[in-house]
């Protein structure tokens, strides 16, 4: 389960504003406006699942300078649970990362019944939402403050995809540049954030403390190495979207942790990052290349990543549920053609 919610989906009539949009004048609730602004600053996204007429409602949001806050709003006559599912898919978020706010108990109960992973909140609590632990990340990084804009760039990218002949042509046209470099002190908050927020593209669910990371950055722990990956494409800069922790011993290089933000899912970035660090290890002369995998219940795709990249194991999980995979250094996966590694 996600401890932190990544997106709040709002009802409109009598929740975001007083009154019913289709019946005349409405007044945006100031406490809701404040909550939306504050959560946005913390990197929490907003969307809308509401009944009504889309054009009318969007105009009201625009008139109140609130429209830019909401990604992929769903204003229609479908059940809200369906709209919530559609929003979660479009934003690549799991349902347990979503909160839903409404003034109507029936709607809240209906969503809670259909989608038990979604946190439901009565609109009377909107003012207090910034105090909820579900919306209180330990640290607010520059990526967090930019998150809404990053998602908007990503949605643009998905729209652009429709003009291309093949998917590969489209990926090549994106001009993806992946910069892989050692972690520096300034990166630590973002790396901690990735470790906390990433569940599906996460190989072991490992958590490091700030002090441990400082030790690694300062070179106090010679055998541990953390690298970060930044992604840029023609739609914008995505910030640090991946991180890798490796430990080394003479001739042995072991990947203890690899995580990639779900924001960049669907374009082979996890494969590009894995291939890049493996090629780097081989170039440094390591002959035994290994990777740990610990099943967390949500990260089957990382096991698939390892195995499809040529890793194999004969081992059973150890006492800590870690399975060790090995790859032949002569047979490493290629970096996808559409990713340029810097």
């Amino acid at each position: 389960m996600s401890d932190l919610k990544k997106c709040v989906i709002w009802d409109l009539d009598n929740t975001l504003w007083d009154g019913i949009c289709l019946e005349g004048h409405v007044q945006v609730k100031e406490e809701v406006r404040e909550t939306i602004g504050e959560l946005d600053r913390r990197g929490i996204l907003h969307s809308i699942a509401s009944r009504g007429d889309k054009e009318t409602a969007l105009q009201v949001l625009k008139d109140n300078r609130l429209d830019a806050f909401f990604l992929v709003p769903r204003i229609n006559w479908l059940p809200k649970s369906q709209n919530i599912i559609d929003i979660s898919k479009e934003l690549h978020l799991s349902l347990d990362a979503i909160a839903f706010v409404d003034d109507d108990i029936f709607e809240l109960e209906q969503v809670a019944f259909m989608l038990p992973d979604v946190l439901t909140i009565h609109s009377l609590k909107a003012r207090e939402m910034p105090l909820f632990p579900d919306f209180s990340p330990h640290e607010i990084t520059s990526e967090a403050r930019e998150r809404r804009r990053l998602y908007q760039a990503e949605l643009e990218r998905e729209k652009a995809e429709h003009g291309f002949k093949t998917r590969e042509d489209f990926l090549l046209s994106c001009g993806m540049k992946l910069k892989v470099r050692p972690m520096q002190e300034d990166d630590i908050p973002r790396v901690l954030e990735l470790m906390t927020r990433t569940h599906q593209l996460n190989t072991t669910g490992l958590m490091l403390g700030r002090d441990e990371m400082m030790g690694i950055v300062r070179g106090e722990v010679k055998e541990e190495h953390v690298v970060v990956a930044e992604l840029r494409d023609r739609f914008g800069w995505y910030g640090i979207i991946g991180t890798v922790l490796a430990v080394t011993a003479p001739s042995m290089w072991r990947l203890k942790y690899l995580a990639v933000s779900c924001r960049v899912m669907g374009r082979g970035i996890e494969r590009a990052l894995l291939a890049t660090v493996l090629h780097g290890a081989r170039e440094q002369g390591f002959t035994h290349l290994e990777a740990e995998f610990r099943e967390t219940g949500t990260n089957r795709m990382m096991r698939a990543l390892y195995q499809m990249a040529g890793f194999r194991t004969g081992d059973k999980p150890d006492a800590l549920h870690v399975t060790m995979f090995r790859v032949d250094p002569k047979n490493l996966p290629d970096i996808p053609r559409w990713v340029e590694v810097l």
Partner: protein, 92 residues
């Protein structure tokens, strides 16, 4: 059994066209296209695809079997499904 394989391939291709490709890309999809090298499926896409395969063809795919030899292309997946099915596949 050959008939079975081709109908499995057709069903797999239909899924890929619908779920993984923009509307006009379907024509370029071949049964031996490397789905990963062509950027059609990645780690996340593979997991959804596996769920579809398990349900549609009533096969159970253990994690150990997730290797390129079995899953790199539509043709390979169809071979895998053929050899792991309890009962021969019939399009309903």
């Amino acid at each position: 059994m050959e008939n079975d394989k081709s109908s499995i391939e057709a069903t797999l291709a239909e899924y890929i066209r619908e779920v993984c490709l923009p509307r006009n890309d379907g024509v370029n999809l071949k049964y031996d296209t490397n789905l990963f090298d062509a950027g059609i499926v990645d780690s996340a896409g593979l997991i959804s695809f596996l769920c579809f395969i398990e349900k549609e063809f009533d096969v159970n795919i253990p994690d150990e079997d997730l290797v390129p030899e079995n899953f790199v292309s539509i043709a390979r997946i169809a071979d895998y499904v053929c050899s792991h099915q309890q009962v021969p596949y019939e399009r309903s």
